[in-house]
Symmetry: C2
Subunit: 460 residues, 2 copies
């Protein structure tokens, strides 16, 4: 279930609110630019897939502080000395900033901004936590789905992971992100209704177990769903179950294998279905699958027509988070513009408003990316970040048909994936990784800011 706006402004880390109070009370009237990007790739990953922008923009358009929210903050002992100016500010709060972003479905790499926010500094700060949370999760899942669907080599993959996603909302949004990342559909019925994503699913072991007899369970199911039913055959014994279905004499849409030696069983089942003349009855595999098991099954010649992937996909089990951050890169004080960067021991960031430029070779293959300053241009380098919001309002209203936007994202992803060099598509880490470098201008600005910071004794 997705909450619709308004979204509470308290959906944020407390320190965003203390900093906002500090900016308002100290009349620190700057316009700040923050960039949201992923610091490094998870182990064995070579690329990321942008997703969740639609929900991020929903949030920005609809985040408000209710009087209940404000009373709660006023009542916190830590806010005791904060003047009422700040609470008045919150009561009028709307996000009024400008947002540039990678369109959903875009393949991107570490260091490349997925989103860039320019707004009065308190506003830009207050929305940090939710922007991160919304974009991180769908990007995480779309990026995982990209691996899973690539491993399936063209066989359809259906997302089955709602039950172990991180809560009900996560289940719905995992379905959306998995679709962007190339899945054919989902078992999450609400995601079907809400986003128009195709839904799949037939029966669980409990259906078989509830019946005295397995054959009766199959027959009773076919009586209600005579077309395209996929019957689950591993509750007791796969081969016995398939024989019972054949004995019923009614061709199902397919059968599902959910445990055991799926490779061997799939070959045996295919042979028996073919012998029964049911060449178009499909074999569907599920049960603790992930991209590695799918790759192995496909390469071993398993006779599987489609895959259902649950927990590994909906929790991105091999890497359940990305090192995504939201960093201040520019402070515009009206009279001066200061570029900001962080130079602490391990966590260096680059200053300045950036743009990502992608270079494509003759055959449509991506050759390299350059992270440059906004306003730079490079022959043959297409800029990826586009302006999506101005004055706190989307440039394009969300489409009436929610599926249209997601399908466009999915197409963009599939097109981008076809541009990736082969080693980058593999499940293991590509060596060398896809080449991404900073532009000369950006490197120069970085050195310059470092020197300024050092001079003003901000670094030892």
């Amino acid at each position: 279930m997705l909450p619709r706006g308004p979204f509470s402004g308290l959906l944020t880390d407390l320190y965003e609110l203390t900093m906002a109070a500090g900016y308002v009370q100290n009349r620190f009237n700057a316009r700040a630019t923050f960039e949201l990007f992923v610091r490094t790739l998870p182990r064995r990953r070579n690329y990321l897939v942008a997703a969740g922008l639609e929900q991020a923009l929903d949030f920005l358009e609809n985040v408000r502080f209710s009087s209940e929210d404000i009373s709660y903050l006023r009542g916190l002992p830590f806010f005791r000395h904060v003047q009422s100016d700040f609470f008045d500010y919150l009561s009028r709060f709307e996000f009024t900033g400008e947002v540039c972003a990678l369109p959903e479905g875009t393949i991107f790499f570490p260091g490349e901004p997925l989103l860039r926010v320019t707004a009065p500094i308190a506003e830009a700060q207050l929305v940090e936590t939710s922007l991160l949370s919304i974009l991180h999760f769908q990007t995480l899942i779309a990026s995982k789905a990209a691996r899973v669907t690539n491993a399936a080599s063209g066989r359809p993959v259906v997302e089955f992971g709602s039950r172990r996603a991180h809560g009900v909302e996560a289940g719905v949004l995992a379905a959306r992100a998995a679709f962007v990342g190339g899945c054919e559909g989902t078992s999450n019925t609400y995601a079907g209704r809400r986003f128009g994503i195709p839904v799949y699913g037939t029966q669980a072991h409990s259906w078989i177990m509830a019946h005295e007899d397995e054959a009766e369970a199959f027959r009773d199911f076919l009586s209600v769903f005579p077309e395209n039913s996929t019957l689950l055959v591993d509750t007791y014994d796969v081969r016995a179950a398939v024989e019972k279905i054949i004995a019923l004499g009614r061709k199902p849409g397919g059968v599902r294998l959910d445990s055991g030696d799926v490779l061997t069983d799939s070959l045996w089942v295919r042979r028996r279905l073919d012998q029964a003349g049911w060449h178009d009855a499909q074999i569907f595999a599920s049960g603790e699958l992930d991209e590695d098991r799918i790759e192995t099954l496909v390469q071993s010649g398993a006779s599987i027509d489609a895959f259902g992937v649950g927990t590994a996909l909906s929790t991105s089990a091999d890497s359940p988070n990305l090192g995504v951050i939201y960093k201040l890169v520019e402070v515009d004080l009206g009279d001066t513009v200061r570029n900001a960067a962080k130079f602490s021991q391990e966590k260096i960031t680059y200053p300045g408003r950036k743009q990502v430029f992608r270079f494509v070779e003759g055959e449509g293959k991506f050759s390299r990316d350059v992270i440059g300053l906004d306003g730079e241009s490079f022959q043959g380098g297409a800029p990826l970040l586009v302006l999506v919001m101005r004055g706190g309002r989307r440039l394009e209203a969300p489409e009436k048909d929610p599926l249209a936007g997601i399908e466009r994202a999915r197409k963009r992803f599939l097109a981008d994936r076809s541009g990736l060099p082969e080693p980058v598509l593999a499940l293991r880490a590509a060596e060398p990784p896809f080449p991404v470098r900073y532009s000369k201008q950006l490197e120069e600005l970085h050195d310059q800011v470092r020197q300024t910071v050092a001079k003003t004794a901000r670094i030892a």
Copy 2:
């Protein structure tokens, strides 16, 4: 943000709806019992902490099918042959069943039901996906928090992970579950307002970076929050930052270290703060911490008063999911009661309605658990599952003060944790694990069901 009811009945896997349609259309009028339990422990884990029951019961009381939900289903080609009886059934749908559960905060082990649902079979089936999703997530996070807070050996731990939790709702509920698992509070301000959980947080690197001068950034923050401010000292150079704070001459509540060599820095900072006479200024550590790093820091004698733990906690990074399942154990057909179990190759389940009995030794230490049949009793074995819902209504209304229930859960967890044997509390796998066995009656029932299933030729 938590959606309040009604919850859409479509928040479920499509196969729950096809099975429900099958039961309704075939007039399969059975009362079924399903049990929700975790099959095995993640690697390096020794116990689990029950959490999320409050939200699960909210869901059960408020799940409904809107006319929009029903029109959507009617429009699915797969449902073309389903008769209107089923859609009428959905339009009147309410959960009317009985629920037994482990109270939140209870420590439990694999195989032990966390929740037991008895209801008309279609109802019990339709709520499966959301019950799993709700209970899985909070149990996952509370169980992770238990490790983190145990590693901190009494030092407070604050949950900081909203930004990388799996979406906005997951951030709020991770805060709740982390509190049940022993955290002192959270940075998630909405969780503070909604559940009354204590909130913490002061400033980010962006606050420092937005100011021309680090000392000015500290001073300006203290002017708004003069009491108990925790100043972030690692933006540029920890030692230089601490000197600037001392030079300001205003004692902060504490300082926060977020990167670098936290052990060495903490010892240096403690010495300098003490030299300044600021013995009660605290040192707070954060930045990619998890239970292992905290254990190392504590055992190395780091001078840290409190920890902030983010991503590792809010995504349960070492194990982002549990093998939680919801299995049919009994079918009551009115005239006969059938015990159900699954005997497929790898995934065997036990039949019958179960209860968990916990045995406690002289000094209050837990010695073993027995999973028996409901109705069994054992001298010295306290039953853990309690009846929480009858006729689809909670036995106890949720408390006016939401914190009261969560605090009770937290106390229960802390009491249970003090009952665990030392090796079970460790961060590594206990060898042998905490002893849990099935009762003799349950083993006998299991054998009997297996024989029946074999006889009716359901297993080869």
